[in-house]
């Protein structure tokens, strides 16, 4: 199975681990991530403005590339996924936006949200299946108590992201079980880390992240996993934090025996 793949800027520098281990794992799990050529930055938060057109265009280009190949588009970074999925929804349902974007881009054929956008985790759950994944695990992470940190970008708004129950998600917990570890359920796993506010009001984001890490530690987690480079950045800025944070793909690769110790 071949998917179009959108890595996003962060995965090319700060979050190379997220990208690298995902590609390696994909080949073991029997699917291929074909990087879209000449992709551009998703635009971060800017495309979420409802009166914003220009910054949405990079997402539309990527979506259209996948459409031309008749492939689904796979993402990894929570923020990129959020932006592209929401732009795709706009291209399907918001006339003002799809009309303007198509007029601007002058594509051979109008793009109207035809491409399916999956997060890598959704591919694992819905296309591969966690049962199948479990069979491929060669080095199960037995005995590890792992707290899943979802953040907010993957879950909300749930009507558009349609990723999991935003108040009580379980996809990462199921993933943790599949790689042989024990999930730790803690109430702050779907709370916001502060996002970009950490650039302007460091203390606010620090407070938010402290609640998250303390809650996870309180419920007995040895480590946290995330899919989001920004969450990773903010969580790692928390001074009181005692437990490490990993990208979920890193543990996936480890369980599949792809990671050198």
């Amino acid at each position: 199975m071949k998917y179009s793949y959108y890595p996003g800027c962060t995965l090319k520098n700060k979050a190379q681990a997220l990208d690298m281990y995902a590609r390696a794992s994909a080949s073991v799990l029997g699917f291929e991530l074909e990087e879209v050529s000449e992709w551009q930055c998703c635009g971060g938060v800017y495309p979420l403005g409802s009166d914003e057109i220009a910054t949405k265009l990079s997402s539309v280009r990527v979506l259209n590339e996948a459409k031309k190949k008749d492939q689904a588009l796979v993402t990894l970074c929570s923020a990129c996924h959020h932006v592209i999925k929401r732009v795709n929804d706009d291209m399907k349902n918001v006339p003002d936006i799809y009309q303007k974007a198509n007029r601007y881009l002058q594509l051979e054929e109008d793009y109207r949200g035809e491409t399916n956008v999956y997060h890598f985790l959704e591919v694992l759950r819905d296309q591969i299946g966690f049962d199948k994944l479990k069979e491929k695990v060669v080095k199960p992470l037995t005995g590890k108590k792992i707290g899943a940190y979802y953040g907010c970008l993957l879950l909300r708004p749930s009507s558009i992201l349609a990723f999991d129950n935003p108040e009580n998600p379980k996809i990462l917990e199921d993933f943790i079980r599949a790689i042989g570890a024990e999930p730790v359920i803690y109430p702050y796993r779907n709370e916001c880390c502060g996002g970009y506010i950490s650039l302007k009001e460091k203390d606010m984001s620090k407070n938010m992240c402290e609640k998250i890490t303390q809650s996870a530690e309180g419920f007995g987690a040895d480590m946290l996993i995330t899919a989001c480079p920004l969450c990773m950045y903010n969580l790692n800025k928390t001074e009181s934090k005692k437990i490490p944070v990993y990208y979920f793909t890193e543990l996936l690769a480890e369980a599949l025996g792809l990671k050198e110790d």
């Binding site: 129950n165 108040e167 009580n168 359920i185 109430p187 702050y188 709370e191 809650s215 309180g218 419920f219 007995g220």
Partner: protein
């Protein structure tokens, strides 16, 4: 061609402000057959009716068209007026130029044009009307009440007291309903069981009341005054005539792992059980899905210990068929499922409970013997938080759009009772609005705040956060002081929205009674006929019609009883003459009409038919006009066009369509 009179009503300004009534009169005079047309401010008034009657006599009218409001409002008024003037009432037609025209349009020119078209259609129809005679049907003097909660019990008692026999059908093993699960009732704080059980006993002992518990309505046929109902009496596995209610079987039953429905699953019960101590009848039921004997064949202890020999594993479901004149729906409510409200951690913490669960915890017969304690560790709480409107007044699709109406009062009750019995417990209530209309209701709420020191915070809760130490953190906002609140709590109580009992949809379908988008049964008129269903002979009692508290439920139950009594007191009902009729010459005996008839009104007879001189025996459809309700299903099904509805014949309908398209 009839001699037709057209009467255009202004309805004050309701019609006249949007429709040029003079123009409608003017246009009416141009229609074929119209010999008289006039307008009047209120056609339904005495004076308006007199104008119609005078015109009928003076102009010798054979047909009347009244351009006014919906026929549901005044068709009967005008028909009676016409009848008094010597015209057959079925020669009157209504053109609805209010609900279908003036109320929904703003542009006078367009509305007038439409009113004229509607008038023309009615004139075209009345031209083809023929005088019809209403028949009569009998009334079975027996009522059926579906649901044995306080609503059903009260309705049954009132009907029985008036001298008519009543059957109550209750799906659970005992009557009593939700009220039997409550501990205390607002605003007087009297014990729920103490006021309910006398009513249950009275219903059980009443010579005119017959109670079928553990039973469900399975099939309903017939119509107002003459319903035939199949009731499935589920196999109780205990012989009601032999059981003494000693309770030994329940004690000795080794299988005590079934969640106790009566205690909302907070503890377990035996597989053979009566739901609660005051149950009526006091005869247990074997829950066959959980009984070891039925699951594995090995056990039979209850039969061995039963001195009376009442346990009967071979008992079968029984179908009882009975005739009724009136049916009252009193199916009640349940609390919504909280699956979609995971932010309140209901599924994650045992110490987050619903109000109905708290009701069981506070009750002496409940899972904690009436002692207020955390279900996780049995410790006494020090801080309690109540969250209002969980799933009520909800703007998104997760919950209900309506106000559940009872939660503000029962939460004030819970808060007050806890502060009274456990003064060291702090109680906080998060609310959107406190709604306490009702006699002595606001005073009750004020007492909770002023005398009992309950802390009310205006604002919603965003999240309930279970802590590693077992406590709960409640994150909410105080809208009055514009502050974010993070409050520690030992227990959180959710006032979950109420919704109609899920089975009501099925019952409504059987009764052909309409329900709204929230599955509440619809009343015939929101203001003027609040306890009747639009389906004749079906009455509504209690929460099945909309959220209400006990006093209101009892009032409505009485009102539904009065309406049912009014029906049962009649010996005969006038039937609608607009029934189907088969043209024997055209009928080919295919049976399709009989297959679609929801009332079983069509049968087949072999008759000697004289078809243009050819005499032969043919199998033809015959409509029983006493059973036919005039729904018209057969007329559109009939492939040869032999079936026609009197008063709404194909010719009449097509004449209307032609008039509209002309």
């Amino acid at each position: 061609m009839q001699r037709i009179g057209v009467f255009v009503c202004h309805c004050g300004s309701n019609i006249a402000a949007t429709v040029d009534v003079k123009k409608v009169v003017e246009m009416a005079m141009c229609e074929p057959g119209v010999v008289h047309a006039e307008d009047y401010p209120y056609m339904c008034s005495e004076a308006g009716q007199a104008k119609i009657q005078a015109a009928i006599k003076e102009k010798n009218l054979g047909g009347v068209v009244v351009c006014s409001c919906s026929p549901r409002m005044h068709e009967n008024t005008f028909r009676k007026a016409a009848e008094k003037a010597g015209l057959n009432p079925y020669m009157v037609e209504i053109a609805n130029i209010r609900e279908h025209c003036s109320w929904i349009h703003k542009n006078m020119e367009e509305a007038t044009e439409k009113a004229v078209i509607l008038m023309k259609a009615a004139v075209a129809k009345v031209n083809l009307n023929t005088p019809l005679q209403a028949g009569e049907s009998r009334v079975t003097k027996r009522a059926l009440v579906i649901g044995g909660g306080i609503a059903g019990i009260q309705t049954a008692l009132d009907i029985a007291e008036a001298g008519y026999p009543v059957d109550i059908v209750e799906k659970t093993p005992s009557i009593g309903g939700r009220m039997s699960q409550l501990d205390k009732t607002f605003p007087t704080l009297d014990c729920s069981a103490c006021i309910l059980t006398p009513k249950m006993v009275e219903a059980n002992a009443h010579p005119n009341i017959n109670i079928y518990t553990y039973s469900e309505v399975e099939k309903v046929s017939g119509f107002v005054g003459d319903f035939t109902v199949d009731i499935r009496k589920k196999a109780r596995s205990v012989d009601m005539s032999k059981c003494t209610g000693c309770g030994v079987c329940q004690e000795k039953c080794p299988n005590k792992k079934t969640p106790n429905e009566f205690n909302r699953g907070l503890n377990n019960r035996s597989a053979i059980y009566t739901p609660f101590a005051q149950a009526i009848p006091n005869v247990p039921v074997i829950d066959r899905e959980h009984c070891t004997k039925f699951l594995t064949g090995k056990c039979g202890i209850c039969a061995k210990v039963c001195q009376a020999g009442a346990v009967d594993y071979e008992q079968q479901d029984e179908i009882i068929t009975e005739k009724y004149g009136a049916i009252v729906v009193a199916t009640g409510f349940n609390m919504i499922n909280l699956d979609k409200y995971d932010e309140y951690a209901y599924s994650q913490s045992k110490d987050v409970i619903t109000s109905l669960e708290l009701e069981r915890i506070m009750n002496a017969a409940g899972p904690t013997k009436g002692h207020l304690e955390r279900l996780s560790d049995g410790k006494a709480p020090k801080e309690m938080v109540f969250i209002q409107c969980v799933g009520s007044r909800c703007a998104d699709k997760r919950g209900k759009s309506y106000c559940s109406k009872i939660c503000c009062m029962y939460t004030a009750k819970h808060a007050m009772l806890i502060r009274d019995k456990y003064p060291d417990v702090n109680v906080t209530v998060f609310y959107i609005d406190v709604r306490t209309p009702g006699k002595n209701f606001d005073e009750f709420y004020r007492r909770a705040v002023e005398e009992y020191g309950v802390n009310y915070i205006k604002g919603q809760v965003g999240k309930v956060i279970p802590q590693p130490d077992g406590k709960l953190l409640v994150q909410g906002s105080d809208l009055l002081s514009n502050k974010q609140i993070l409050k520690e709590a030992d227990m959180v109580v959710l006032a979950a929205a109420i919704e109609p009992e899920p089975g009501v949809r099925n019952i409504a379908t059987m009764l052909t009674a309409s329900i709204d988008t929230n599955d509440f049964l619809t009343e015939a008129h929101a203001k003027l006929r609040p306890v009747e269903s639009p389906t004749a002979g079906i009455f509504l009692s209690g929460v099945c019609q909309g959220p209400k508290d006990i006093p209101e439920t009892v009032s409505q139950a009485g009102a539904a009883a009065v309406k049912a009594i009014g029906l049962l007191a009649k010996d005969k009902l006038t039937t609608n003459p607009c029934t189907a009729k088969a043209d024997e010459l055209m009928c080919n005996g295919c049976s399709q009409c009989a297959n679609v008839c929801p009332y079983g009104a069509i049968s087949y007879e072999t008759k000697l038919i004289n078809d243009h001189g050819v005499r032969e025996d043919r199998r033809v459809a015959v409509v029983n006009s006493a059973l036919c309700q005039g729904c018209g299903a057969c007329t559109v099904t009939c492939p040869s066009g032999a079936m026609d509805l009197q008063g709404f014949s194909n010719r009449q309908i097509l004449a209307e369509v032609d008039a509209i398209c002309r």
